[in-house]
């Protein structure tokens, strides 16, 4: 699969898995890599960019064993972006299926 295309999908997945719960960087990588074949080391840079773009905000939670842990929380802007991505994605997939199932030639 084209790397850029894959990155775009991963971006949607990152936003989606954070939709319901706040996660720390490690959890995001773990959760995503369990479901999707992804180059794990590219997730943090992506997470960082999305945070700088305002789709996530971060906060720290004290940890009993070490330094405070940083959690990522989706912002309102992030929710909007996710909705936009999902609608584009659904439209795209609909078209792809139409073609693959033979309707596209009509």
């Amino acid at each position: 699969m084209n790397a850029q295309f894959k990155k775009g999908i991963i971006e949607i997945c990152v936003l989606k898995i954070m939709e319901k719960e706040d996660l720390c960087g490690f959890d995001v990588i773990e959760k995503l890599s369990q479901e999707v074949p992804v180059n794990e080391n590219t997730i943090y840079p992506l997470l960082r960019r999305l945070t700088l773009q305002g789709y996530f905000e971060t906060y720290k939670v004290p940890s009993p064993v070490g330094a405070p842990k940083k959690y990522y929380k989706i912002t309102e802007l992030g929710f909007e972006k996710l909705e936009e991505y999902l609608s584009e994605w659904k439209q795209f997939i609909k078209g792809v299926f139409k073609i693959l199932e033979g309707d596209g030639s009509q």
Binding site: I29, N41, Q53, K69, L77
Partner: protein, 379 residues
């Protein structure tokens, strides 16, 4: 393993043009991820596979941020031929400025305002360095100088020091505009509303003397902010409560000359906000109880002294700045607190010098304390 990994990552990141606090943040994030992985008994190899080698990390970060022009902050810089040529121009500017200054002075008796030419030194440095990375940031970085030049021209040529100082509002306004791409329209409107309000307040106040009730224009800030609320009934209720409060205030003032008492009408929107909010800061909790107490105390002092003396309305509002200052001192990391409270201190200095001594022409200099303190603190 963790120390070695972070040390190598730090070394590689240092080769790039990234701010120190960004580097520290990235290192802290990777340190945390390694800790988490070690906590799950992952081997060194598994950890490297998961988070990538330091070299991969830097490459991935670099690649990720080059995708969007707005967010390029990680790139190699400073060693190419192009950079050398640019640096020469920056290094030559002081000499060029001195020469132009003397030509203007000796040749045309333009010592003043010929000295303005010295502003070209930082301006050229900004144009060369900031525009190269991001044109919007370049404009933003140049805006203080452009504002100073316009302000001085307005002042020297037409004695327009006040309200000419309002030109400095372009600095924060441009700052907000630079974030426009990533902001929702309503958030943008809310962010820009204090400046629109301040501009209207000062201009109308200066030329008509109607400081009261023109200060009501500041209510556009919460009234626009409310529009971001998702529930329509809440929006309508809150907006309505503001309109009722404004109407009562104006009626009390104009019909009964009871401007002070009229202020109590604004307890209506405050009350409605408290009653309708579910997770907003307006709900009193154990965490924000002290801030609320402080707010009520300050409100009581402001209204009490205003009603008793009738003279303190115009300047005592500054005590409200004590509330965010208190909240910052309570919550912000101690090392950054002084930087965070500087805008409030600068506002107090600026307004006090202007209001009590009519030093509007110079009091804006107080705002320079903000970047100065930030620079000294980070130096």
């Amino acid at each position: 393993m963790k120390e070695k990994y972070l040390e190598e990552l730090k070394k590689l990141l240092a080769e790039y043009d990234i701010k120190q606090d960004e580097i520290d943040d990235i290192l802290a994030d990777y340190g945390e991820m390694i800790e988490d992985a070690l906590g799950k008994n992952m081997s060194d190899e598994q950890i490297i596979k998961m988070i990538g080698s330091p070299k991969q990390v830097v490459n991935d970060l670099s690649e990720e941020f080059e995708k969007d022009e707005e967010f390029i902050y990680i790139h190699r810089g400073g060693h190419g031929k192009h950079a050398n040529k640019d640096n020469k121009i920056v290094a030559l500017m002081p000499f060029i400025s001195v020469i132009i200054f003397f030509i203007l002075g000796f040749g045309f008796e333009l010592w003043h305002p010929g000295w303005l030419v010295f502003l070209s030194i930082p301006m050229v440095a900004i144009m060369v360095n900031a525009f190269e990375k991001n044109s919007l940031n370049g404009i933003l970085a140049l805006s203080p100088f452009v504002a100073v030049i316009i302000f001085l021209i307005l002042g020297f040529a037409w004695d327009f020091w006040h309200p000419g100082w309002l030109i400095f509002l372009i600095i924060p306004v441009l700052g907000i505009l630079s974030g426009y791409k990533t902001m929702k329209f309503l958030s943008f409107l809310t962010s820009i509303s204090p400046f629109i309000a301040a501009l209207t307040f000062v201009l109308v106040g200066t030329y008509t003397g109607l400081w009261n009730p023109i200060w009501l224009i500041f209510l556009i800030i919460p009234m626009i902010g409310i529009l971001t609320e998702k529930k329509l009934w809440k929006v309508l209720l809150l907006e309505f409560s503001f309109l009722v409060a404004i109407t009562v205030y104006l009626l009390a003032g104009y019909l009964e000359s009871q401007w002070g008492l009229g202020l109590f009408a604004f307890l209506i929107p405050v009350g409605v906000s408290i009653l309708t909010s579910d997770d907003s800061f307006l709900v009193i909790t154990n965490k924000n109880k002290d801030v609320w107490l402080l707010f009520l105390f300050v409100l009581a002092v402001y209204i009490g002294l205003g009603v008793l003396t009738g003279e303190t309305w115009g300047y005592l509002w500054m005590i409200f700045l004590g509330i965010p200052v208190y909240a910052i001192l309570k919550h912000a990391p101690k090392e950054n607190a002084i930087v965070a409270i500087m805008p409030f201190l600068a506002t107090v200095i600026f307004f006090s010098l202007g209001y009590f001594f009519s030093f509007w022409a110079f009091s804006w200099l107080a705002f320079l304390l903000i970047p100065m303190v930030a620079i000294i603190k980070n130096a």
